[in-house]
């Protein structure tokens, strides 16, 4: 048993070191490449400076030139002279503050029938699905800060994200630090109010936990220069919280406090035409699984008395691919119509573990695909299909879901949405490895959602 538990650890650390080395080498190579360019640039600059040394007389001439430039500009009647203007409104160094509320009223045929994200309506009734408060501001010449506090389903305040982003790093690099949503696919990075449906697809909650992959960490990203298209490579490390008891197997967060989760991603953008854009992402993450039960005596198989299951703490990989295709003519006078198609696939692989003395490996995955059509200036119609358990495994059973939404945007700042879904699959039961086949059942949901934003909320990336 001891050998069994230590060997994967050693292998993991060897692999991790190799990864870290590869990443480090790539970074050093990149910096060296840029360094050369800088050196060349600097050399050129020194040459220029050498041929035309700056002296005080020249500065005086320049100052004089500026003065006369101002004077000549005032001479023609066409352009008024630069004059002190009255201040435009009240200047303040307070951050931009905004609040977003999501109310939902509706019905689940089975309140416990599906895996829910933290910001989904949790049960039948009238719900305050989420209240988000955002504070955004440039910190100093080196950082900007974005703080998003959220109260999902009136369950207490959480820090959805609080991060610093660098603004002055050279060589096309950018660092992020704080707690933030990992750049793992598309939906994982987005807040509730960017969703086109009242509920997120179940994929991220089923694999990564109720809030997706959101944890304290840091990220380094690099905009690859010189390519004819946009390509950003990013690598990050997170300390992921372990799973709440009795939840589906969480892909990351196990292995103790010192165990980190690593995420790497590549995102590329192709503007096929003025109207059509393709945005693709590939991501990879590795860490350790996390799962526990509140009542160790009631469930099998449990690894220890503390409630950790046999699936807890296993090294695993997550592979992801996402595709976003959008068609929106640039001139709205012709049409307000637009179409956005978004698809994501995740595959979780636990390369090797032992269950009941038997060596096993497990591969589980799922996907969703959605199309949102803008049919009029303020009207959006969306359909979404989900397939969980493709392939299926002990911790991710087959589930098929279909959803539709109609969104009426009253203005840029408020919208009303009708959402319905049908879901058929094996009801989630923790620890189904005993072989007992769980029920297959169908569940429906219908919700009316009202969303509103106040204050100055920062613009979102594409």
């Amino acid at each position: 048993m001891t050998a069994m538990t230590t060997r994967p650890h050693r292998r993991t650390s060897v692999r991790r070191t190799r990864w870290a080395l590869a990443a480090g080498l790539a970074l050093v190579a990149a910096l060296a490449g840029r360094g050369e360019a800088f050196a060349a640039e600097a050399g050129k600059r020194t040459e220029e400076e050498g041929s035309a040394p700056v002296d005080e007389a020249e500065i005086a001439r320049a100052l004089q030139a500026d003065r006369t430039a101002g004077a000549t500009a005032t001479a023609p009647p066409a352009v008024p002279a630069p004059a002190p203007l009255p201040p435009r409104g009240f200047q303040s160094l307070n951050p931009d503050v905004s609040g977003i509320v999501d109310f939902a009223a509706g019905w689940f045929s089975d309140d416990d029938g599906t895996i829910k994200s933290g910001d989904d309506p949790q049960s039948t009734g009238i719900k305050v699905q989420e209240v988000e408060l955002a504070f955004q501001q440039v910190v100093d010449p080196y950082f900007r800060a974005d703080i998003y506090l959220t109260i999902p389903n009136l369950s207490g305040i959480e820090v959805e994200e609080a991060l610093l982003t660098t603004t002055q790093l050279p060589a096309n690099l950018q660092l992020k630090a704080g707690i933030f949503r990992a750049g793992l696919g598309r939906q994982n990075t987005q807040h509730l109010h960017l969703q086109d449906f009242s509920r997120r697809p179940a994929l991220n909650a089923a694999l990564l936990g109720v809030d997706g992959l959101r944890a304290p960490g840091f990220e380094a990203s690099w905009l690859v220069p010189g390519l004819p298209f946009y390509l950003v490579l990013a690598g990050s490390a997170f300390s992921v919280e372990s799973a709440e008891p009795d939840q589906p197997l969480q892909t990351f967060g196990g292995g103790g406090r010192a165990s980190l989760t690593y995420v790497g991603s590549a995102r590329a953008f192709f503007p096929v035409s003025d109207a059509t854009s393709i945005y693709v992402g590939l991501s990879y993450a590795r860490g350790k699984t996390s799962q526990s039960v509140s009542d160790p005596s009631a469930a099998r198989p449990v690894a220890d008395g503390a409630g950790h299951t046999l699936y807890d703490g296993l090294g695993d990989n997550l592979y992801g691919a996402d595709l976003y295709v959008k068609w929106k003519p640039v001139n709205q006078a012709d049409t307000y119509a637009s179409v956005a198609w978004q698809t994501e696939y995740f595959l979780r692989q636990i390369p090797s573990f032992s269950l009941g003395g038997e060596a096993r490996r497990q591969t589980e995955g799922g996907l969703y695909s959605q199309v949102v059509v803008q049919t009029a200036r303020r009207l959006y119609v969306g359909v979404r299909g989900e397939l969980l358990g493709a392939p299926a495994g002990d911790n991710l059973r087959r589930e098929v879901a279909g959803a539709a939404s109609v969104t009426w945007a009253l203005s840029e700042f408020s919208r009303l949405r009708l959402y319905g879904e049908v879901r058929r699959g094996h009801r989630f039961l923790p620890l189904e490895a005993t072989g007992a086949s769980p029920d297959r059942r169908t569940a429906q949901a219908l919700f009316l959602q009202l969303e509103a934003a106040i204050g100055a909320h920062g613009a979102h990336p594409f």
Binding site: K44, G226, A333, R377, S411
Partner: protein, 313 residues
């Protein structure tokens, strides 16, 4: 052991791919700063002004096309590439681009054009701004601009101010070209002065003409040419007109004898044409930016086209 070998192989493949990317990037990367100052502007008019005062020392490109509504440009990542290579970003300011420009600037990873840097020019800095709210505002008034009306670039006085701002900033960024920028600015300003006289003479017949506009985006042009704005098709900025407002507007136009509705090419025309027909007026689709219609290749052509459309046929 075989698995271990496979992992090693995978590591080699991934490392190789990363290495290739780095090599490719290094090979394609511009070796050193090119001679030209790269100016990126949000609207095409500013790109033309930058070319006028920058001459052959600059290369200017706009993020938005003249046919687009500058409030609602999509922040597509390919625009990040443009900004990544920019030495100077010129934007309209007054929160016109607030819905799309900030994430692009942050994503550009270009220290030169971040807020507060010399390479970030808010062109509204010296503009005598109109429609600055004097009382407490909120969004019950629609999607308003709290710092004032940002649609200021068409009147020659304002275009001259922007040109001067760009020239001064170019001189700060590229001191070796200061004399050239100054000379170009003088030439442009002189030409602008000449054309302004001519434009104002041409536009004399429309002085005092009553107009209705789609959005409050013609205030500066109206101020310059002496048009009298009596109403807007949008009851509030960004809010589509309800039937009651349209009926009221038609009544007002009939009573006041308003014969012209001004609108940009990027607004839908059905409602405006209905109003025009009911009120016995004509809908005039005015270009609001360089590139808004074929043949409008620069600022001078833009003003020419505005006047040509505005004058009675």
């Amino acid at each position: 052991m075989r698995r271990r070998q496979r992992l090693v192989n995978r590591g080699i493949v991934v490392g190789g791919v990363l290495g290739l990317l780095v090599v490719a990037a290094a090979a394609f990367a511009p070796r050193a700063a090119e001679a030209k100052v790269r100016v990126v502007t949000t609207i095409e008019t500013f790109a033309d002004l930058a070319r006028q005062v920058g001459g052959d020392r600059v290369e200017a490109r706009a993020l938005a096309r003249g046919t687009m509504d500058p409030h609602f440009v999509e922040s597509k990542p390919n625009l990040v590439l443009e900004l990544n290579r920019a030495d100077l970003l010129v934007h309209v300011g007054l929160e016109l681009e607030i819905g799309w420009l900030p994430p692009l600037v942050l994503g550009s990873r270009n220290p030169k054009i971040q807020l507060g840097q010399p390479g970030n020019l808010d062109a509204s800095a010296q503009i005598p701004v109109q429609d600055v709210p004097a009382t407490k505002i909120d969004r019950s008034l629609g999607d308003i601009h709290p710092q004032g009306n940002p649609h200021y670039w068409i009147p020659p006085g304002n275009a001259g101010i922007v040109a001067r701002e760009i020239a001064e900033r170019l001189a700060a960024i590229d001191p070796a070209g200061a004399a050239a920028y100054k000379a170009n600015l003088e030439r442009f300003t002189a030409e602008l002065g000449r054309r302004r006289v001519e434009w104002e003479k041409r536009a004399a017949p429309v002085r005092g003409m009553k107009v209705v506009t789609y959005h409050r985006s013609w205030s500066y042009v109206s101020g310059w040419l002496g048009l009298q704005e009596v109403g807007t098709v949008e009851p509030k900025p960004g809010i589509p007109a309800p039937p009651s407002h349209i009926a009221q507007l038609i009544g007002l136009m009939r009573k006041d004898g308003v014969k012209v509705i001004l609108m940009e090419s990027f607004y839908p025309r059905n409602t405006v044409e209905l109003i025009a027909q009911k009120a016995g007026a004509r809908a005039v689709v005015l270009p609001s930016d360089v590139g808004a219609a074929p043949g409008i290749s620069g600022y001078f052509q833009l003003v020419d086209a505005v006047l040509q459309k505005l004058l009675p046929p």
